[in-house]
Symmetry: C2
Subunit: 515 residues, 2 copies
């Protein structure tokens, strides 16, 4: 496979699975040409009967199943999802081979896929890698090259025609006989259904699977019936306790609390809170929740109301909304029951999808409108490149999620411990680049904070801050002093996965581990 | 121009404005092939600055203006709209020629277009014809052939690539700097913005013009900023008193009340009210409002709750929703202030657009889910063909509106007086076919009701009704007895406009009047 060095000096293939691939050229340097893809034109004449089928088998009888087809799923049911395994097992039973799996993410619950990949039912995955499937991929267990895309990148790839979906299977906590569907009502309520939007718009065939069939109209209709072929009732979409947590919990670890409080102070000291149009994004992890609480406290002190905060939504964000600390929650996925209930009941809690929030190939998504974005990572290097996909031992165990997209914020902050066990987190060179240093503005560790020197404006904003600002090199040296110089993973030449930047170019390649 | 007879025996051109045209083949007989059109792929890299411009002139400086381009507008501001005239006058000042105008509808306020057409600024109109522009068209005053499409047909034509829009100018009662826009807030609030949705999704360039610029996010975002190039603030979008009526009024004319009450009784006697999933659609005219009140009374008697009623919303419908007589209002346009306020404030009052409600080239829109649809017309003939475009004297004075789409209901009822002045309304042959008799189920006049004999199921349902059911021939004879045989309009051979059926085929051609 011919390879070239991309703008970051990473050697990447110029052809992936038989298709030409463009090496990463730098932020904003690659401009797409041409027009978005068009899905097949349908006729109402073919949809005069009922779309509601008896069961999944009847749907599979009607669908255009064929070897090598691409099927897609969304991940809003997270680790509680029953649907991916169920559908894929049925495809296996029907003797399908070389199916391309295009989920928006996978979770540990999807471990049975490993067996299906080994048996040749699934050829490869276009989407996120979870633990077990990622392990298989890292050791060369997939027939073709896996392609990892961010949430925004996945929407982009679908609309631009890079990722053609033959059949989209959409698990829907509520749906009506027309195919309208949402995720906020029903026993398997998960919150938004935005990760399935592109699939519903662009796939050749679209199947809604629901355990809560209601009379027309299911409202809200996050998925519109006009894009849906079949509606399949099923007893249970998943395990509600694993779909959303009962509650998400703030960290109590002192080290992680310190990181969270420094990140919040960084946002305060940069002056962003005092300026109009304040907004931020943070996740559902314990450290992120602590960050949110610290920022909320600063906002209370300063009597500031954010224009919006960005979910994944949690009880912590919902409380901010109820308290009037933010005008809106813009929510891509709900992580706990309070998040789901708020999205269902509160007009100012807005469901978003990757088109509006993350897709780079639009006339602007809202990611760059976020003032401060707080994200994690597995490694950060001296060029501020961040890795969220592979561990320092070379195992590909994570998807990109919204990382690349959320990093488009005015200030992107990575919160990480300086080291984990014997592994430094700030390294000389990340094993895999998920996002280039150009979009990463600050690294907050428990041993100091490094601001990207390219962000002179931020350094100027922070010049009277009492935060422990240090250089990235200092952080690296401190880490190495504690952990010792880590052994780099040994890899073979074989590329098992490529990491797409959100504009569709290849930012890095993941090589097979030599174990 | 070569012509053929279509499935209704109407002579229609097989080429319109240089493009091949398909003659109407019968309901559900023409199946599209190919894929929907893709709009140009954009890059976030080109939208890093502000989209908000100083004024319309700055937008026109930036846009790719060229002779022969197609520009589009929506009609939610109705006869209060200032934007069409303003933009078109500015294009004229800039010396543009042969501009193709693709509005979703025109109103009397747009009479200045007549002058622009005469001067060659505008070559022709692809969309509805209002009085003055229609008059000009009927006498051959346009350079090319006008194409009339229904609301659903317009969305279809845009998505299928039959109607390419270079620049969409979208008047938005509320918008934010990102380009998100809605019609429910602001001094020029009009209700839904759904008629502009296809324009925003498929036009090469999209300009939002607003007199209520609010901070991000404008919510709801009926139009999404990710599809918008520029946001232009303006002092006033239109005249609020003409955008929506203060109130819409029920007819007091005894003849029209009789028609309305018979139509309601027809719905009752057909048994539809007693069956699950009851729903209906009726407009904002005085007779339609009376119909709604009569139906509501039957529903109260029978303790029936409709699954939904279909707007155009009015105070009459809003009262039904508040009273609990319907679960939802599905609203394509609000006709009075109560309609706008309800759409803004009531969760169960849903904004719709022609994709979900009317577009035939989807996997099903919801038009066929409506149980009873009450519509008007200018003429109906012995084959139940309905004309809503031309008057019996041959003048093309009206658009199709949603007529063809709403006629997809289970029972489509035309409510008309038997004659108007000296014109019979039930005629032997309509001057122009807007919708074929196959989709028209009953004609309710003040002198009797004719049910389409093809609907044997309806006749069966109505066999114990005491309504004055007569044949269409009887209605025709009665009418002629009163008015005398009308003189048919004299036309030249020249086709000035074609009427598209909602599937994109040509159902009829309008010929130049010989006056």
């Amino acid at each position: 496979m011919k390879r070239v060095k991309n703008a970051l000096g990473r050697e990447v293939p110029i052809e992936v699975n038989g298709k030409q691939a463009v090496p990463f050229k730098g932020i904003g340097r690659y401009k797409p040409s041409g027009r978005k893809i068009g899905p097949p034109i349908s006729s109402g004449a073919d949809y005069t009967g009922s779309k509601v089928l008896k069961d999944l088998d009847e749907a599979l009888d009607k669908l255009d199943l064929h070897n090598g087809m691409t099927v897609s799923f969304h991940h809003h049911l997270r680790n509680g999802d029953y649907i991916v395994n169920l559908v894929m097992e049925k495809l296996a039973q029907r003797g399908l081979k070389d199916v391309v799996l295009a989920p928006s993410a996978l979770f540990p619950v999807h471990e049975p896929l490993v067996e299906l990949i080994k048996r040749g039912v699934v050829s490869h995955v276009l989407g996120s890698m979870n633990g077990p499937v990622g392990r298989l991929c890292t050791t060369g267990g997939m027939k073709k090259t896996a392609v990892l895309r961010s949430h925004g990148g996945r929407y982009r790839a679908i609309q631009d025609g890079d990722l053609h979906i033959d059949i989209a299977f959409i698990a829907a906590p509520t749906a009506d006989p027309h195919g309208n569907a949402n995720g906020v009502q029903g026993p398997s309520a998960c919150g938004p259904l935005g990760f399935a939007l592109a699939d519903s718009l662009y796939a050749d065939e679209v199947v809604i699977i629901t355990d809560n069939l209601v009379p027309f109209p299911a409202w809200p209709w996050s998925i519109e019936g006009g894009n849906v072929d079949y509606v399949v009732p099923i007893e249970k979409l998943g395990d509600p306790e694993k779909i959303v947590s009962g509650t998400t919990k703030v960290t109590t670890d002192p080290n992680r609390l310190k990181i969270a409080s420094w990140a919040a102070q960084l946002v305060r000291d940069s002056g962003l809170i005092d300026e109009p149009e304040f907004s931020f994004q943070a996740g559902a992890g314990g450290m992120s929740l602590a960050f949110i609480q610290y920022v909320a406290e600063y906002m209370r002190e300063k009597k500031v109301v954010a224009d919006f905060v960005r979910g994944g939504s949690t009880e912590t964000l919902v409380k901010m909304l109820k308290e009037g600390l933010t005008r809106f929650i813009l929510d891509g996925q709900s992580f706990d029951l309070a998040g789901v209930a708020s999205l269902r009941d509160n007009w100012n809690h807005i469901e978003t999808n990757p088109f509006v929030s993350y897709n780079y190939h639009t006339k602007g998504c809202f990611a760059p409108r976020v003032k401060a974005s707080v994200l994690g990572g597995t490694e950060i290097d001296l060029n501020f490149n961040v890795n969220v996909n592979t561990h320092s031992d070379g195992w590909l165990l994570h998807g990109i999620g919204g990382f690349q997209d959320a990093a488009d914020a005015f200030m992107t902050i990575i919160t990480v411990p300086l080291y984990r066990k014997t592994n430094p987190i700030v390294v000389d060179r990340v094993h895999t680049v998920t996002a280039p240093g150009d979009v990463i503005d600050a690294i907050v560790t428990d041993q100091g904070i490094a601001v990207n020197p390219k962000r002179e404006d931020l350094l100027e904003r922070l010049k009277s801050s009492n935060l422990p600002l240090v250089s990235i090199e200092e952080l690296h040296e401190k880490a190495i002093r504690i952990t010792g110089k880590p052994r780099k993973p040994r890899t073979k030449d074989n590329v098992v996965a490529v990491i797409e930047w959100r504009d569709g170019t290849i930012i890095d390649a993941v090589r097979e581990l030599d174990i």
